[in-house]
Amino acid sequence: MALPDARTQLPQVLQRDMRYLPGSLDRLALFLLVGFFLLVPPFLGDYWLKGILVPMLILSIAALGLNVLTGYAGLISLGQAAFMAIGAFAGVIAYGRYGIPIPLTLLLAGLTAALVGAVVGTPSLRIKGLYLLVATLAAQFIIVWTIQRVPWIGAASMVTINTPPVFIGAWEIDTALEQYYFSLAVAAVLTLFAWNLTRSRVGRAWMAIRDHDVAARVMGISMLRYKLLAFMVSAFYGGIAGALVVFAWVGAANVQEYELELSIQLLGMIIIGGLGSILGSYLGAAFIALLPIAISIGMHNLYGIVGGEIVSAAVLANAEHVVFGVLIVLFLIFEPLGLAHIWRRFSSRFEFRLGSAVRT
């Protein structure tokens, strides 16, 4: 059926199997998205760029990393924010103190986080599930604590370290639009890498460990290598995201931005977006980035109707928490594979219609 004549058709069939996006609607959507991200931002104001798009891209990178670990390799982590912190401080020290060029600094930030990631991942060889979770929770607290207390890092006295003006060669990245395109370029490279990787031998090894670790071992998959690799890749992405926070968004490394709450939010993003899905990491991050705006608009309207006082920032922040918690629970109950799965259902139904339309 799928192979009318195996001998002549096989290479084409295999090529088709290896395509990035099998569906035509998927390809159209990607085309539109890339078009939007490349062409529309120059027409958007700074509020949109710095308030929504740049943080969204940065969170997407961190979420993508976490999704590699949790969604693909099946190892849950509550420590992704700590790896962002490592990246942020490694970045600001490398660039600000030693003047290492920005591209190398990003790489260094990622690698430093990856190195710590390998250490944090070590217990995963003996423990899993809830035990591993507590190990990553411990890492979250200990890493942030250590950053604050090692004098060499310099976060103890000031908490925040500012970065000098950001130059790549002679190009100074100082406008919001430049920061946006810089983040976009980094995100694009990292996304393509993760996309390839998850579809490769390494990605399959991760999913094999996730779905049935005993069977994976019997197929010759090394737990040591692939679990640590998952932790390292995940931390690498977190580290780069943290460095981007410094160089493309806030302009400073501040250890208080990387508390447990952010780790939980990143976990929430990939659950809402879709575990084990590249697209899902983006959808989840976009959803969470847009959520505060939706809530703020909703609350103001609500208060407008009931005629109450102006909504305070604290109430808004807490309302965000409530809505975020409710969303996590709702997705777990009704759509455990997240927004990405909703899209997949929609697009495959579309393909089916298209297919039958062509046939008749």
Binding site: L133, L137, R149, G325, I328, V329, L332
Partner: protein
Amino acid sequence: MNDLIYGIELTITGLLIGSMYSMVALGFVLIFKASSVFNFAQGAMTLFAALTLVGLIPMVGFWVALLLTVGVMGGVAVFAERAIFRPLVGAEPLVIFVATLGLAFILEGSAQIFWGTQPHGLKLGLPVEPLMIGGVFVSMPDFISALAAAFFVILLVLFFHKTRIGLGLRAIADDHVAAQSMGIQLRKVWTIVWVLAGIVALAAGMLWGARIGVHFAMSLIALKALPVLIIGGIESIPGAIVAGLIVGVAEALGEGFIGPLVGGGVQDIMAYLVALLFLMFRPYGLFGEEMIERV
């Protein structure tokens, strides 16, 4: 010699504080044994209960406020069980864990919307003058809190081992199917488990509230029950009690002796450091049994 006395004082303080960790961790163990729920929201429930209590006290006085808070926590428990955990029955433990993350956000957010984000004091009117026992200085409030925590620990253990409901919970922990066939209703039991979690949260909220005030950091302190659990062995009642005491002492000694060298805050991570050591070298805890994986 001074160091020795200082050490003894710290150890005693640690044991007193540790008894509160033991209490919260014990609540975790009981819930985990009966329902396999690893409840991250325990910290948020503690904050929720304490905020509700201190919010109500000025309105209706302590005892009525306490009663009302028990009622509210019961309501929260029933809500959590009905709306969140019943639909997820049979899901993997990790999925249910993540659901408790969601619950934690819901509870923290709504408590602070309702009662505000500023810290509150909680005065239980306990005597404050310190005890001197054989030249060693002991904080009176800590001592009373520890007594209360110890009382609660005994109560919980008795509840589990002596009452019909407790025996039902244990039967379920051993074998869900068999317990059901004996006519024990899982749903009812799970509701009870969540009510129990709420009451433990309230007790913890009161004891800590009296010590450090009622504010957001409280949920982080209650969260330390997770590393305590790992140290004790996830399903072990004596493990939770002993590990709570160990963590209390380790924190007090760490803060007292190492804290001045690194700029304080050692108690924030001590529980996690000890838990990591256990995860590296004895992952199934003090009293836990290593499971043999059947293939």
